[in-house]
């Protein structure tokens, strides 16, 4: 039986199987009715609310990130060469004071500043949380190979460095609590990690819903993992593993801090959240061993005080 277009357009459910087949046949053969159904479908799909469109900032960040990764491969080789050179230089120079120590009157080594006395204490805390959380995310890799771990750590360090600028900007702008800035910074770091997914990462938190400090040395986040919200409570890393604090306390320039970060991130920092939870006693000694060769004699003394190992 041939159907008229009006019949097709005015029919309502429920339809018999036979009737539905007839209508479907008509729709595939009648351009006008097909167009009308397509328009209705488009209207229905377009009515699905979208809260937030794709982000140009995120895409640009991803493009920039890939360019940086490319540069990083070359920079990594160069950095390794620089580290070797600086280590050698520091070793040679650490021996020279023996002959001149008698003649020189050394300035007294200042006590390391207490965190709360520093004007950028909130920024230091936020940066510490973000770096710690990014290392925690390493546990999201399901049975990773060494190569997977290395790839993740390189990516995470880049993300930390990229997130710093917006952290600083938020604090400079003012008006936000440390909790709010930290929550947003964690979210930004996660988004950046997720915008460039690694094949080895099967599961990564998708969103930070809340951040809160718990006492002096603990904090917690509510984050979405899979389809559920989870609460993660972690101990902060020791003060001597807060990069922003070290920069301030050692009076280190960006180049030196970059080398310190590179060294610590791929050694002491790996699996740090677990090690801190377990109160691993080797952390101070390993940190000293990694960092001391990069420092001047004076900075070495300050650093020993910060770590608390004479």
């Amino acid at each position: 039986m041939d159907l008229r277009c009006e019949d097709v357009r005015n029919d309502a459910l429920p339809l018999s199987e036979e009737r539905a087949e007839q209508i479907a046949l008509h729709l595939d053969g009648c351009e006008a009715c097909d167009r009308e159904l397509r328009a209705r479908t488009a209207a229905a799909v377009n009515a699905v609310p979208v809260e937030k469109g794709p982000s140009m900032a995120e895409v640009r960040k991803r493009i920039r990130f890939d360019r940086q990764s490319f540069v990083m491969r070359f920079a990594g080789v160069a950095a390794a060469a620089v580290i070797l050179f600086v280590t050698g230089w520091a070793l040679v120079h650490s021996e020279t004071p023996k002959s001149t120590a008698v003649r020189k009157v050394e300035e007294p080594i200042p006590e390391p500043p207490a965190l709360d006395t520093l004007p950028d204490a909130a920024y230091i805390r936020t940066e510490g949380v973000v770096s710690h959380y990014l290392q925690f995310s390493l546990s999201c890799l399901n049975t990773p190979t060494d190569e997977d771990k290395r790839e993740f750590l390189i990516r995470a360090l880049l993300v930390l460095r990229e997130t710093r600028s917006s952290m600083k900007a938020r604090y400079q702008k003012g008006g936000e609590t440390m909790e709010a800035v930290t929550r947003e910074s964690l979210s930004e770091a996660l988004q950046t990690m997720r915008s460039s997914p690694l094949t080895s990462v099967k599961l990564l938190p998708s969103k930070i819903n809340a951040f809160q400090r718990v006492g002096q040395d603990q904090w917690r986040v509510d984050h979405i993992l899979g389809s559920k919200q989870w609460r993660l409570t972690l101990h902060s890393q020791p003060l001597f593993l807060h990069f922003a604090y070290l920069k301030s306390a050692l009076g280190a320039d960006d180049a030196l801090m970059g080398r310190i970060e590179d060294l610590l991130w791929f050694s002491v920092y790996v699996d740090l959240p677990k090690r801190v939870e377990d109160k691993d006693p080797k952390i101070p000694a390993e940190t000293l061993e990694a960092v001391l060769p990069l420092l001047t004699a004076r900075q070495q003394k300050i650093f020993r005080k910060i770590v608390g190992v004479p």
């Binding site: 459910l13 339809l15 199987e17 036979e18 009737r19 539905a20 087949e21 007839q22 209508i23 479907a24 729709l27 595939d28 097909d34 159904l37 397509r38 479908t41 229905a44 799909v45 377009n46 009515a47 699905v48 609310p49 979208v50 809260e51 469109g53 794709p54 982000s55 140009m56 995120e58 895409v59 991803r62 493009i63 890939d66 546990s139 399901n142 988004q191 997720r194 915008s195 997914p197 990462v201 099967k202 599961l203 998708s206 969103k207 819903n209 509510d222 979405i224 993992l225 899979g226 389809s227 559920k228 919200q229 989870w230 609460r231 993660l232 409570t233 972690l234 699996d271 959240p273 939870e277």
Partner: protein
């Protein structure tokens, strides 16, 4: 369909993108971003994932612009890229038994579930088959008989399901799954 004031066609913008300019990306995003998000929402029902996948798609549009042939239409190519992004995401999705190891085992406790957003609630009313029919019809432009062939059902059944899905989207009600 153009939602911006730029008179240039998508294919012309892609030609510019091929030559290394990234400014056309913003225009393409304004034109197709919301539609692409809905495409991923229909597929995944996960607003966060949809956002990530849409960002990833536009990133790939930029990085793979050289593979676009300017004489061909933009939209099919665009949704082919989007589909590849979605498939890669599906492959990477964690198996349900995978949990955070090490620290997660000792340091985490469940917190309250996050409420579903409006789009997820709306799409929750549709079965996976219904959503697939919408995608094949709306995004791939298939005829009812072609959709039916793809899904192994009769054209009449496809029509009935499509009709019902459109009703549900038009008059959102309490969550109910039609499969």
């Amino acid at each position: 369909m153009s939602t911006d004031n730029d008179p240039r066609r998508d294919e012309e913008l892609m030609t510019l993108l091929r030559s290394g300019h990234d400014e056309p990306l913003g225009i393409l995003m304004a034109r197709h971003g919301a539609d692409l998000l809905r495409f991923f929402l229909l597929r995944s029902r996960d607003a966060h994932a949809a956002q990530d996948l849409a960002n990833e798609t536009f990133y790939r549009i930029f990085s793979k612009a050289r593979t676009f042939e300017p004489k061909k239409a933009f939209r099919p190519w665009f949704y082919t890229v989007a589909m590849n992004v979605f498939r890669a995401w599906q492959r990477k999705k964690k198996p349900p038994e995978v949990t955070l190891e090490k620290v997660a085992e000792t340091a985490e406790e469940p917190a309250p579930d996050e409420p579903l957003n409006d789009a997820a609630k709306l799409l929750d009313q549709l079965s996976e088959v219904d959503r697939e029919i919408l995608v094949l019809r709306h995004y791939e432009g298939l005829k009812l008989s072609e959709v039916a062939k793809r899904l192994g059902m009769s054209p009449g059944a496809v029509y009935t399901r499509l009709f019902r899905a459109l009703e549900k989207l038009r008059r959102p009600g309490p969550s109910s799954n039609s499969v």
